[in-house]
């Protein structure tokens, strides 16, 4: 070797090391996430924004539903109480509810002391002579009822029955069954607890700590009852489980991929040096990919890392091509650079063009995959081209694979005879796709969820047992201050009440119920007459009732006090059951406040969204938004699916344009595209036949099949072009080696993605089952459809 290339080599190696160091620094400062929000929109509509917030920190994100199963009912109830007692002492939990009346005293005091500010019945008319007569008369009637036992002692201070009004409101929410003094599931087989964490649902570390605390507390109390088991579910639990699953899967899958691929290459190369060197481009590509995503997105999603394991199988191809295609005995890889690099470069470019379309996706998860792949492939290819040749030792050689190559070329020569079979297969695939075109796609966003069906079932079951509302329909009002949104919420409540009366809704919740706006509270205070006036009216109102006005002096005194009572503030709710309802329904984001009013559908029916929307529109409440969360998320997902289809087609078009520009021959481009298209169609039909409904990640997988497959088609093209241009004799030594390298490259890719096919994370699994069979088909089709007129 001359000194000049050596110096250039040293520069390349130093640059490479510096680059790796830089990537390492970036990665060490990267944030990694595992929540599903990466698979939610970047530019949402207001309703979609709400959906994302809901998932991250909304209404229910801090709730952990816990169940205790096993043992007998009294034991479960006892464990529930002991567990709750321990957790209530832990500041990580805001509330722990299990049916025990822990807040009952404070709740009653709160409602009683603020009854004249809280009761929606307080109007000037209620304190007129007629209003008083009606209200007191009703309270006396209530004494005749069993509930009268509860209200009898309140009569002297609350003869108009405001506390009863408020209790009825509080009581309208459904509650779980009670067994032995603790909540239980409907079938009685579980004790239930509803735990609210202080940390947001999106704070996965805190959620994990909370789960650990619950588990430890349970282990401590359940020592004597080994049959009892603890179950947990909820959004925070889901985030933690998701992260754990993804981490585990990424670790395990990358390990399995590396071992498989290394084993395979070890068999082929029979050289430890070659094996190590072969992984250098892969490692560099993976680091570059993560660093690029971190720089580009600020946060790296766990799924992106999972995807990285699969890319090992593809990035390792370049070094395979270098090692296997280099002339036997000729350690100088410059021959390879001259002969094969242009083809590989074109292959890398087609891959990049394919993935570039993903960068445009509004789906941050997809864009991350795109950026990761592009950065990873470029770096892997560049390292193979500019660094790896300089690292090869003088006497570098790998096991001779010419024999295998020769056998392969025999197979390939006969492959053309199988074109018939291929065409029949392709026609069959098209028939399947056309027949099934109506239900190719999974349109539900749950298709993306990494949760297992068992987790989802447990959640559904516990939620139904708890009577927790399935928060699907909401009215959202926003404004610049808490008081303003409370006012809006009151306006919306009035409209919703008319819908409840008409049976369109079963019920609704509103934060204004227990925290009325200042204006409403003032209006209620203003409805209360002065003591002398009240006494005069009472005397008249009670004339025909069996109650002497002087018995109601405590009432007159309480009303007088309420007139001057300070207005109810959010802080007054502290430590009551109502605080939870209000906190959960009021959100603050910067200077913007929103109030959520969840709606409950009438039993056995759906909410007629049109009627509710019309009613809201008719009343013209500013910024009131009716949201169907499930509909919205499915619409959102359908939008993404559509976008991904358009982008994938765009990616394919870009590949075609690139090939046309590089090869300048329509027939050659067609011969490259046909096997790719055939592979894509066949694998899609196969997925459909095996009952897979396609999600976005299947589509990404298909794009990968096209990108990887293009390398094979290009090699076949080059193979037969070179044999056509060269005059016969010199050629045969090249083609078998190239064939062997393609087979190895294919096998490593299949190994990398095949491992993903066994993943429990549906996103990764979808990609695996698409790419692994897809690339095999691409190679087979490329061999069958290659132009062998000159071979």
């Amino acid at each position: 070797m001359t000194p000049r290339p050596a110096r250039r080599g040293r520069i390349a190696i130093w640059l490479w090391l510096a680059f790796l160091l830089a990537c390492g620094i970036v990665i060490s400062r990267s944030q990694f996430s595992a929540d599903l929000s990466a698979f939610l929109p970047r530019n949402p509509t207001p309703a979609q924004q709400l959906l994302t917030e809901q998932l991250r920190e909304g209404l229910a994100s801090r709730l952990i539903l816990a169940g205790i199963e096993g043992a007998d009912a009294p034991t479960r109830a006892r464990l529930s109480k002991q567990l709750a007692q321990r957790l209530r002492a832990d500041p990580a939990f805001v509330t722990v509810s299990n049916g025990e009346p822990v807040n009952a005293e404070r709740d009653r005091a709160f409602l009683f002391n603020h009854r004249y500010l809280l009761s929606p019945a307080i109007t000037p008319a209620r304190f007129s002579v007629d209003g008083l007569r009606a209200a007191v008369g009703e309270s006396i009637d209530l004494l005749a009822s069993p509930a009268g036992l509860l209200t009898r002692s309140l009569l002297p201070r609350d003869p108009t029955g405001e506390v009863v009004q408020l209790l009825m409101q509080l009581n309208s929410d459904s509650r779980p069954r009670m067994i032995e003094g603790a909540w239980a599931s409907r079938d009685g087989a579980h004790a239930l607890l509803l735990i609210r964490t202080r940390a947001l649902g999106s704070d996965i570390d805190a959620q994990q700590a909370a789960m650990t605390a619950i588990r430890e507390a349970f282990a401590a109390v359940a020592g004597a009852a080994p049959a009892a088991r603890l179950l947990m579910t909820g959004p925070g639990v889901f985030s933690v489980t998701t992260r754990e699953t993804i981490q585990q899967q990424v670790h395990r899958l990358s390990l399995i991929s590396i071992v498989l691929i290394a084993g395979m290459l070890g068999l082929v190369y029979r050289s430890f040096t070659a094996l190590l060197l072969g992984f250098l481009p892969v490692l560099s590509g993976a680091l570059a990919g993560i660093a690029a995503v971190s720089l580009g997105f600020g946060v790296v999603h766990g799924i992106t890392l999972g995807f990285g394991t699969a890319l090992i199988g593809e990035a390792v191809d370049y070094s395979i091509y270098l090692f296997v295609q280099s002339e036997r005995g000729a350690a100088d890889p410059r021959d390879w650079i001259g002969g094969f690099w242009p083809t590989i470069r074109l292959g890398v470019l087609t891959s990049i063009f394919g993935f570039a379309s993903l960068l445009l996706s509004g789906f941050p998860g997809l864009a991350q995959l795109g950026l990761y792949s592009i950065a990873g492939l470029i770096v892997a290819a560049l390292v193979t081209r500019f660094v790896l040749p300089h690292l090869l030792p003088e006497n570098f050689r790998i096991h001779d694979v010419s024999a295998l190559g020769l056998a392969l070329s025999g197979v390939v020569r006969r492959a053309a005879a199988l074109r018939w079979v291929a065409i029949l297969l392709l026609l069959g695939a098209c028939a399947v796709l056309i027949a099934q075109r109506g239900n190719l796609w999974n349109n539900s966003i749950s298709g993306l969820s990494p949760l297992s069906q068992a987790d989802v079932d447990l959640d559904t079951r516990l939620r139904a047992d708890m009577g927790a509302p399935d928060v699907r329909y909401l009215v959202v009002v926003s404004g610049a201050s808490r008081d303003l949104v409370l006012q809006h919420a009151e306006q919306v409540s009035a409209i919703l009440q008319t819908q409840v009366d008409r049976g369109v809704l079963a019920a609704y919740q509103s934060p204004s119920r227990f925290l009325p706006s200042a204006a409403t509270q003032r209006a209620r205070q203003a409805s209360l007459p002065a003591p002398a006036e009240l006494e005069a009216r009472l005397a008249q109102a009670l004339r025909d009732l069996p109650l002497q006005p002087q018995r109601l002096m405590p009432f007159v005194a309480d009303v007088a006090a309420a007139r001057a009572q300070p207005l109810l503030q959010a802080a007054d709710l502290a430590q009551t059951s109502m605080a939870m309802a209000v906190d959960a329904l009021l959100l603050q984001r910067g200077t913007q406040w929103s109030a959520l009013l969840p709606l409950t559908a009438p039993p056995g029916a759906d909410i007629d969204a049109g009627r509710v929307r019309d009613a809201l529109r008719g009343a013209a409440v500013p910024h009131a938004l009716f949201v169907d969360l499930k509909g919205e998320s499915d619409r959102l997902y359908a939008g993404y699916l559509h976008e991904a289809i358009v982008l994938s087609l765009g990616g394919l078009a870009a590949i075609v344009v690139l090939l046309l520009a590089a090869l300048r021959s329509l027939p050659r481009v067609a011969r490259i595209i046909v096997p790719l298209a055939a592979a894509v169609l066949t694998v899609t039909a196969g997925l459909v036949l095996f009952g897979q409904r396609l999600i976005i990640l299947h589509l990404v997988g298909l794009l990968l099949v096209a990108a990887v497959g293009s390398n094979y088609a290009l090699f076949f093209d080059r193979l037969y072009r070179s044999s056509a241009t060269a005059s016969g004799a010199a050629v045969p030594a090249v083609s078998p080696r190239t064939l062997a390298s393609m087979l190895f490259a294919n096998l490593t890719t299949v190994a990398g993605f095949g491992v993903l096919a066994f993943s429990k994370v549906s996103i990764l699994q979808a990609m695996g089952v698409t790419v692994a069979p897809g690339v095999i088909l691409a190679l087979l089709y490329a061999a069958m459809f290659a132009d062998k007129r000159h071979a």
């Binding site: 009703e138 004494l143 005749a144 009822s145 069993p146 109650l547 018995r551």
Partner: protein, 195 residues
Amino acid sequence: MTHRIRVPHAVAVLLLALAAAGARAADWSVDQLMQSLAQIRAERATFTEKKFIAILDRPVESSGELLYRAPDRLEKRTLKPRPESMVLDQNLLQIERGRQKLSLPLQEHPELAAFIDSIRGTLAGDRKSLERNYRLSMEGGAQQWTLQLVPLDEKMLAVVKQIRMTGVRDAVRSIEVTQADGDRSLMLIERMAKP
């Protein structure tokens, strides 16, 4: 000797007869009442109830229907003074009054639970459940019995002083609840013909 025996014999016969009568009266024990009540699977009756409440000048009256289905469902349909339904099913008490609905788990309202359980337990003939909360005592015979229940629990005693039920064989005719503060209620029950 025989002569001397004869007179006492007559006395003895009389005593025996009396004892037998007494035994028969004592035979209508709590157990016997409970057994005959437990035979009833379903029952329908009308009621009128008067509540004597200290702060009111006159008692409040109400009337309606009672429906019972063994072992643990009791429904009280008040028609006057205003329609209201109260259903006790297992341990949940649901009160419906016009558009208002109230569900009260009995565990959260022990005073209400004690009172309602006394009626339901009696109707079900469930002595065990009654004795969990009350001391029972019985007077009278099958034709006219009075069952008195006094709460065992201090807290309950602070609300309900005693419950007296009267009846004829397996039919409860009245329930009188006297509360600790002197307020009391009297419910008269008339069994309705089986449908």
